[in-house]
């Protein structure tokens, strides 16, 4: 059977000033994988996601989603940014933030109505945050804020999810809750691309992995390529990690 690719990236190069942050990345992500992007700090992991999503303009390269240019396929894609990129003291509630996930479908000017509200409440319930729907977002814990962000992406009802360090600064119970939701999404046939820092949990959480350090080092099934060789190539030191085989 021929593999269907959810995301295809060709020759993607991003630079700030003269320093390349991503160098000539070619990457094809098969449909239905739960993929980790791993690499050291400054490897360009977040930048890769931002370049794919058009937040950062690459100096070269193209991105296609299901064989169409990304711009035409936005509605198939959902994004969970890093929690620290927004001001959590912004005057708004958890439900309101989740509702923002419906704005893309609504387009310009049109306001969210009952239908959007219902979908947002369902998303909040999925992440176990329904009882916090009217809570001011600054009064949420870090883990709860992360769940709200996840709910906002869920409400987009996308096929492909890009997540930037969703496990950063969350407690164990939130981490388990989030990974269970991600696994559920994969079961439903969605494709998930997750920037991840904790190498120990890669084999347990993910089935696909991309090693990145400015250049793409390797990409493929965790079982085949998540080994010391690739880790060493990526992190530059002789990296030993306990891999559950």
């Amino acid at each position: 059977m021929e593999t269907k690719f959810a995301v295809k990236i060709d020759d993607l190069t991003v630079a700030y000033d003269y320093k390349p942050v991503l160098w000539d990345i070619d990457l094809a992500i098969p449909e239905g994988v739960l993929m980790a992007i791993v690499g050291p700090n400054g490897a360009g992991k977040s930048t890769l996601i931002k370049a794919i999503l058009g937040i950062i303009k690459p100096i070269a390269g193209s991105v296609s989603i299901y064989d169409q240019p990304y711009e035409k396929q936005r509605k198939l894609v959902a994004y969970v940014p890093q929690k620290g990129t927004v001001d959590w003291d912004f005057p708004t509630t958890a439900l309101d933030v989740v509702m923002m996930g419906t704005y893309g479908d609504l387009g310009w000017i049109k306001r969210p109505g009952q239908k959007e509200k219902k979908a947002s409440l369902e998303a909040l319930e999925k992440v176990g945050m329904l009882s916090f729907k009217n809570r001011q977002i600054s009064q949420l814990s870090g883990g709860q804020q992360q769940r709200v962000f996840l709910a906002r992406a869920l409400v987009q009802n996308a096929s492909i999810y890009f997540m930037d360090e969703p496990f950063q600064g969350v407690d164990a119970s939130t981490e388990i809750a989030i990974i269970n939701i991600l696994k559920e999404l994969r079961k439903a046939g969605k494709t998930l691309i997750v920037v991840h820092h904790d190498l120990q949990t890669v084999p347990e959480y993910f089935d696909w992995v991309t090693f990145l350090n400015v250049k793409k080092i390797a990409t493929g099934p965790v079982k085949e390529i998540f080994n010391d060789d690739n880790l060493t190539k990526t992190y530059g030191i002789n990296y030993k990690v306990a891999i559950n085989k």
């Binding site: 940014p81 005057p91 708004t92 893309g104 310009w108």
Partner: protein
């Protein structure tokens, strides 16, 4: 004229009514749009823009030779916008941080504006006097047509605000995310910045270049203290702004030699001060009260915990114990005991105390309180 006479005059005196209406509308639009500036952490942008508007006023006068306020404000708008784009350009094209860009534009434009003003003042032309009113503002020079422009612009901004409410909100909260949803964030950004510049320019005649940013920030900062909803914040800021305008005008009109602009700004400052201290959620006063109450609560619960430790050793938790045990280990028990009794956590009988059902459960759950999950 007393304060009261002023309000009587308001209904009969045409000039006073015009000025009051003008400052009220100005306060409202500034509060409304200032909320966005504050939430975008662009508080200083207002200051830079208002100073950047000064050379525009001077150049407009030099070109037309007229002192028609609308022509001069059009000049102000243009040079304010140029200043804004310079700031944006500097921050995106160079390594300069936004505070440096703001500071540079502010002082360069203001310096240039002052240069032109002194040049104009030296001209042998009787017409030149009065341009310096744009430095500190002079509400008394407001004409009906000025106020009409203010009302019109405020109406348009309100309309745009309501129309693009959802887009403004998502841009303020998470611009990158808005981009991924397919919104043209650059357009939304320019739209909102344009209206902020417009509001600033509108206020130059009344409040002046130097104090204008306070009109933008003070009502918004005060409003943020009272609410956790963006809509309510924008509305409250408009109300605070309008009230500052009206009250400020009233005070300055009822006294001699008090110029209106600074008084309005000071009134707005009082709103801020009051809100910082007395707002229930974020105010300093209630925070301190809550803090003290929590500390007292915690102390009480510590005592309860100690009692629980003693009571636990018996099959019957309500088994009475001598108060002296507590005295010995805890000290200061008299007040805490009566406080505990008031909460119905313990019962006191003579020289003995015993835990109630409620107190037992409270103590047991004290350390079991889960960090709120699901």
């Amino acid at each position: 004229m007393t304060f009261f006479e002023y309000f009587q005059l308001l209904f009969t005196d045409y000039t006073l009514r015009t000025i009051t209406l003008g400052t009220a509308v100005l306060g409202a639009i500034c509060g409304m749009l200032g909320s966005f500036a504050v939430l975008r952490k662009q508080s200083l942008l207002g200051d830079a823009i208002s100073h950047a508007a000064l050379p525009g006023i001077a150049i407009a006068f030099l070109i037309t030779g007229a002192k028609d306020s609308n022509v001069l404000l059009l000049g102000a708008l243009i040079s304010g916008l140029i200043g804004t784009f310079w700031i944006r350009g500097m921050t995106s094209k160079t390594h300069l941080k936004s505070d440096t860009a703001l500071g540079l534009v502010l002082s360069l434009f203001f310096g240039f504006g002052m240069l032109l003003l002194t040049f104009i003042q030296k001209q042998p032309n009787a017409n030149q006097a009065g341009l310096d009113k744009y430095l500190f503002g002079q509400a008394a020079t407001l004409l009906e047509k000025d106020v009409a422009v203010m009302v019109l612009v405020t109406g348009i901004s309100l309309f745009i605000l309501l129309l693009f409410w959802k887009e403004f909100k998502i841009l303020l909260f998470d611009a990158d995310y808005a981009t991924t949803l397919g919104f043209n964030t650059k357009f939304i950004d320019i739209l909102i910045t344009f209206f902020i510049v417009l509001a600033i320019v509108l206020g130059l005649q009344t409040v002046g270049v130097v104090l204008m940013s306070a009109m933008l920030l003070a009502p918004a900062a005060a409003a943020r203290q009272w609410t956790n909803s963006l809509a309510v914040m924008v509305f409250l800021a408009a109300v605070f702004g309008a009230s500052s305008g009206v009250i400020g005008t009233a005070i300055s009109a009822s006294q001699d030699n008090l110029s209106t602009g600074p008084v309005i700004v000071l009134v707005a400052g009082v709103f801020v001060l009051f809100s910082f201290i007395f707002s229930p959620g974020r105010g300093v006063l209630f925070r301190e009260i809550r803090f003290r109450k929590n500390r007292a609560d915690l102390k009480l619960k510590k005592t309860l915990q100690f009692m629980y430790g003693i009571a636990k050793t018996h099959d019957d938790f309500a088994h009475p114990h001598a108060i002296r045990i507590l005295n010995h280990f805890q000290g200061y028990t008299k007040n805490s005991l009566s406080a505990l009794e008031e909460k119905e956590w313990v019962e006191i009988k003579g020289q003995k105390w015993s835990l109630t059902q409620k107190g037992f459960r409270e103590a047991k759950d004290l350390y079991n309180q889960q960090p709120i999950n699901d």
